[in-house]
């Protein structure tokens, strides 16, 4: 180092006199365990950092998985209400009357109740659960009042009458079945007006001469709370 303004031999000597002698050997002996502890702590911190990083990435992946699972679970959350409705509709009504009275199956019955049975193939519960996603669910209670939870024990044949005639029905296997239609004198069964479902049968009569005063007579029988009940007929239904 070239001489400069700070060179001061007296000051250098005075300060160096203040510096103590140092025992390097004992200092090195003291340093070894201290340095090894420091290295152990350093490695532990590194391992903790790596572990924290792995946990962070893993936690993020789990969170993403749970998020996608939540999306999937939304469908089951709304499905129970609908599943109840569809549980009774998995038995296709048209098949029963077809086998019982193939000749009297009304082609107009299917369209009134077509939303559920037509879109839910029998024996395919997974499909029936998807039905509620359609907007047809709200119409079911109005058109199929009381049928959802109504099952009745088997009964013998019973007769229900109106001014236009009478019908014989019975319950077999929880299904309401039409046995006979007997129009009164001067009446015939109205064509394409019969409704046959598992829990409801309706038959409409019309005068043979076509002269009706007011509403044509009908007979409607439903299973309500496990009992066969003759219900008033809503002309608009």
């Amino acid at each position: 180092m070239s001489p400069n303004e700070f060179d001061d031999g007296e000051l250098r000597g005075g300060l160096q006199d203040l510096a103590p002698d140092v025992d390097v050997r004992s200092a090195l002996d003291a340093l070894r365990p201290r340095a090894r502890r420091a290295r152990t702590r350093h490695r532990a911190r590194l391992a903790a950092g790596v572990t924290a990083g792995i946990l962070l990435v893993g936690g993020g992946a789990v969170a993403l998985t749970n998020t996608s699972n939540d999306k999937v679970s939304i469908t089951p959350a709304t499905s129970p209400k609908i599943a109840d409705d569809t549980s009774t509709t998995t038995v296709p009504p048209p098949t029963t009357p077809t086998t019982a009275n193939p000749d009297t199956t009304s082609p107009t019955a299917a369209p009134t109740d077509a939303t559920t049975p037509d879109s839910s193939p029998p024996g395919a519960p997974s499909d029936s659960r998807q039905l509620p996603t359609q907007s047809t669910a709200p119409t079911s209670p109005t058109t199929d009042h009381g049928r959802g939870n109504d099952t009745a024990p088997d009964t013998e044949v019973r007769t229900y009458s109106s001014a236009g005639g009478s019908i014989d029905v019975h319950v077999a296997g929880g299904v309401l079945m039409l046995d006979d239609v007997r129009p009164a004198g001067g009446y015939d069964e109205a064509a394409d007006k019969r409704v046959e479902r598992d829990d409801r049968i309706r038959v409409e009569f019309e005068r043979k001469d076509g002269n009706h005063q007011g509403q044509p007579p009908r007979v409607e029988v439903r299973i309500i709370n496990g009992e066969l009940v003759q219900t008033p007929v809503d002309p608009s239904s």
Binding site: M1, N4, E5, F6, D8, E10, L11, R12, G14, L15, Q16, L18, A19, P20, V22, V24, A27, L28, A30, L31, R34, A35, A38, R39, H42
Partner: protein, 170 residues
Amino acid sequence: MAESDGGHALEAQFEELFRASYAGLVRSLTVAAGSQEVAADCVQEAFCRAYVRWRRVGRYDEPVAWVRRVAVNLLIDHSRRMQRHDRALARMPVDVEPPPSDPLEVDLEGALDSLTPQQRVAAALFYVEDLPVTEVAAAMKLSEGAVKYHLHQARATLRDTLDAHREDIS
């Protein structure tokens, strides 16, 4: 096995550096700190940190410069803490008798106490460890101009003490 041999070689290299530089570092930092215990603790802590990172620090051109820099940082931090501690003690109404000084002995330690930590460190590294200004600047993370300023201030204060002592003797 090769890795174990490599580990032993690294440890040997580290210990070689320690034996070569530890004493000089402690001596200079003792002047800077006013306490050998504090200086030794700072230097040992710096060597511990170098030991942990020795695979990287050992490849430097001058590993001792890295150790010195860490030790100086530790010492300056300690000195600043002690200054706050001393100021807090000074506010307490306690009468402390200063130790009697030998009129024939120059009171450089007392003069050093009047310096700032950076002035003390600069003076210690320059005058005790015989480092050039550039290395002092590197150790203190300061510019050479700043080091020269601190050296100038330190030398002026210490020179006054030496001159006063000379006058007292004469």
